[in-house]
């Protein structure tokens, strides 16, 4: 049979955002995908169904989002790097399984293409859902790319972080980004840095599957390796056994959440623009960071000392980073495509140091640069 023309695409491509996510996943070593159709995320499943058999991977369309999230967890426990993709309303259903993945420390990647409730429009409405939407104590790692290239790059990063920290990682896309085509560069697979979960090296009878070293992340065996690990949502000790000892429970969640908090410098990715001498800082994520950068440049042209902190990793929230900006500037503006939610997080750490202004736009589209520029002028 003739190889398909897009069998290996390396080099420059003009490509749909959702397809870039799928290609990023395959480049990262993803070999299992389960999903349930939902606009505007369906193209990810379509692309994965076509591409996975070519690379020895497996795809299944499940009966619902709950089925998808648990199939993905099952595949990861059996050793495959796994991903699912959904959109806001579908993410609701997946929250149950995400809680299980956190408790059992199963590496998985979930794409959430945010959309307006009940309509196919752009939004940042899920910014809190992806942080808090799972039962039990947890920290989340959430990456919010702002371009099709970043969708590719940070899907790879999402796999690497999930394997490294044994935690679910969310790629937070937006309808606009996922359904947009842009020119991107796909590197040679050999040049892509891939992280794989650490495997246990001790004999099976000696393994305590939930005992971690200094990094707080235990090595992970796959089903069938001979280690016979029990995975449970219930409080469990280092051997994995269910326990009613609440001191053990306390220590377990201190470790599960602490492994993320202690590695915040490694996990949080961001970019700064014109911040060195800025009086006004814009803090933005996702597609809003694009308008914000343009607005900051235009403000500079008009003599206003504005700068931008573009957050790629939106969770965990980097308190120290935002605080350092609040100490330096007089005003902070937070543009968002929702009722203004991430603003509160910025305000929490900036209080008494800088005035924080929310710039929400909840109309299914991103801010124009003029709108953000007006926001900057309004506080200048």
């Amino acid at each position: 049979m003739k190889p398909r023309e897009y069998e290996r695409f390396i080099d420059f491509q003009f490509i749909l955002g959702n397809h870039a996510i799928a290609e990023g996943a395959i480049a990262a070593g993803c070999r299992f995908f389960a999903g349930y159709p939902i606009t505007p995320a369906s193209e990810i499943a379509e692309r994965m169904s076509e591409r996975l058999p070519d690379v020895g991977g497996r795809f299944i369309q499940m009966e619902d989002e709950l089925g998808s999230i648990y199939a993905v967890i099952g595949a990861s426990l059996a050793g495959a790097k796994s991903m699912t993709a959904t959109a806001s309303a579908g993410y609701n259903y997946m929250q149950e399984g995400i809680g299980y993945a956190i408790a059992t420390e199963t590496p998985i990647v979930i794409v959430d293409v945010m959309r307006l409730r009940g309509a196919e429009q752009a939004t940042h409405a899920d910014i809190m859902q992806v942080r808090w939407g799972a039962s039990g104590d947890h920290e989340m790692i959430v990456l919010a790319p702002s371009s099709v290239q970043e969708l590719f790059d940070y899907t790879i990063e999402a796999f690497n972080l999930s394997e490294k920290y044994r935690n679910p990682v969310i790629v937070l896309s937006e309808m606009t980004l996922s359904l947009m085509r842009e020119k991107i560069m796909i590197p040679d697979p050999d040049e892509i840095q891939k992280v794989n979960r650490t495997r246990p090296t001790v004999p099976p009878e000696e393994l305590l599957p939930f005992e971690a070293g200094e990094d707080c992340v235990p090595p992970m065996a796959s089903f069938g390796d001979g280690y016979r690990v029990l995975y449970t949502l219930n409080p469990h000790d280092k051997s994995g056994m269910i326990t009613g000892d609440l001191d053990i429970y306390d220590a377990l969640y201190e470790r599960i959440t602490g492994k993320i908090r202690r590695a915040i410098e490694d996990i949080v990715k961001y970019k700064t623009y014109f911040l060195d001498d800025a009086d006004i800082a814009v803090i933005a994520y996702g597609s809003e960071a694009r308008s914000a950068l343009e607005a900051v440049k235009r403000a500079r042209d008009e003599g206003i000392k504005a700068g931008l902190l573009k957050l790629i990793t939106v969770w965990p929230f980097h308190d120290v980073l935002v605080k350092s900006i609040a100490e330096q500037v007089k005003k902070i503006i937070v543009p968002e495509m929702n009722i203004g939610k991430y603003y509160w997080e910025v305000k929490r750490v900036s209080e008494c140091m800088a005035e924080v202004v929310s710039l929400p736009l909840n109309k299914g589209r991103m801010h124009s640069s003029s709108e953000i520029l007006n926001g900057i002028k309004g506080v200048a």
């Binding site: 058999p53 070519d54 497996r58 089925g67 998808s68 426990l77 050793g79 029990l230 219930n234 269910i242």
Partner: protein
């Protein structure tokens, strides 16, 4: 001398949490006999439970195991089997997880002919939470959520799985030790979706409040007295059968499994 089958249990798990005389303990015991007689490689065995009495059993077995989520056993199994078809996957669950919250997962996995074995302990109620009505509670039964009698018809789980596409289907009670162990062995060896419904006693809830039988032995006698074989059932009227459990093998057929069909599909793809 320790019992030779103790090697199948994790160290330090006894005593288990099942009530005295519970059918779950029996089913766990029969299952251990089945895997022992099959000489199954437990390193390659994955047991999936959930939440509830029967669903706790995987936490006791010294194998690869999943515990703690209600009703999602089959999606876990789907991911595991597609990622590594070499593994033997057995699901232990109750009637609540199987017929209510996990009902859609059950029929979809049967439709796909996923190569797994599902063993359901049907004790006719949600026992762990206090004996509420389940989709398997008979009409008229008074439970903690049907104090004036249950007005809903129960499922026939074996028929449900049959029309959904299951390829090995059988029903026994906890009073049929030999037959049930044999059936478990057949189910595990069968390539395709295997389903065993075990009518199990719950002396704490269903037995005590619905049957008014507190003694586990009386519960087991009741199960045996109310079971009829397929052959006996042929001669009985539908009305009489409504009060009985038909036991035996209902379906045994060979059809390609989801995993087999995926391998075929891959042959049509270009493997890099």
């Amino acid at each position: 001398m320790a019992h030779p089958n103790l090697k199948y249990l994790r160290k330090g798990v006894l005593p288990h949490m099942f009530c005295p005389g519970c059918g779950c303990g029996q089913i766990l015991n029969y299952f251990i006999y089945a895997i022992d007689e099959l000489r199954l490689d437990v390193d390659k065995l994955v047991i999936i439970g959930g939440v509830g009495c029967m669903s706790r059993a995987p936490a006791y077995l010294n194998t690869n195991a999943i515990h703690g989520i209600h009703g999602r056993n089959l999606p876990f199994a789907t991911g595991i089997k597609l990622a590594n078809p070499e593994l033997t996957v057995v699901i232990l669950m109750g009637d609540g997880g199987c017929a209510a919250i996990g009902g859609n997962h059950l029929i979809q996995a049967a439709r796909r002919n996923l190569d797994v074995t599902v063993i359901v302990d049907n004790n006719g109620s949600y026992a762990m939470t206090g004996g509420q009505v389940s989709p398997m509670t008979p009409i008229g039964a008074t439970t903690t959520t049907t104090t004036r009698g249950n007005i809903e018809r129960p499922f026939d789980l074996c028929k449900l799985v049959e029309v959904a596409g299951g390829t090995y289907i059988s029903r026994w009670t906890t009073a049929h030790s030999g037959q049930l162990i044999n059936s478990m062995k057949k189910a595990i060896k069968h390539k395709g979706f295997s389903f065993i419904e075990v009518i199990g006693q719950c002396p704490t809830q269903y037995g005590r409040y619905v049957l008014r039988l507190r003694d586990p032995v009386d519960n087991l006698k009741w199960l045996r007295e109310n079971s009829v074989t397929l052959k006996q059932a042929e001669k009985m009227s539908e009305e009489k059968l409504r009060e009985k459990f038909i036991v035996g093998d209902f379906v045994e057929k060979d059809l390609p499994t989801l995993e087999d069909l995926y391998v075929d599909l891959e042959k049509r793809a270009r493997i890099n």
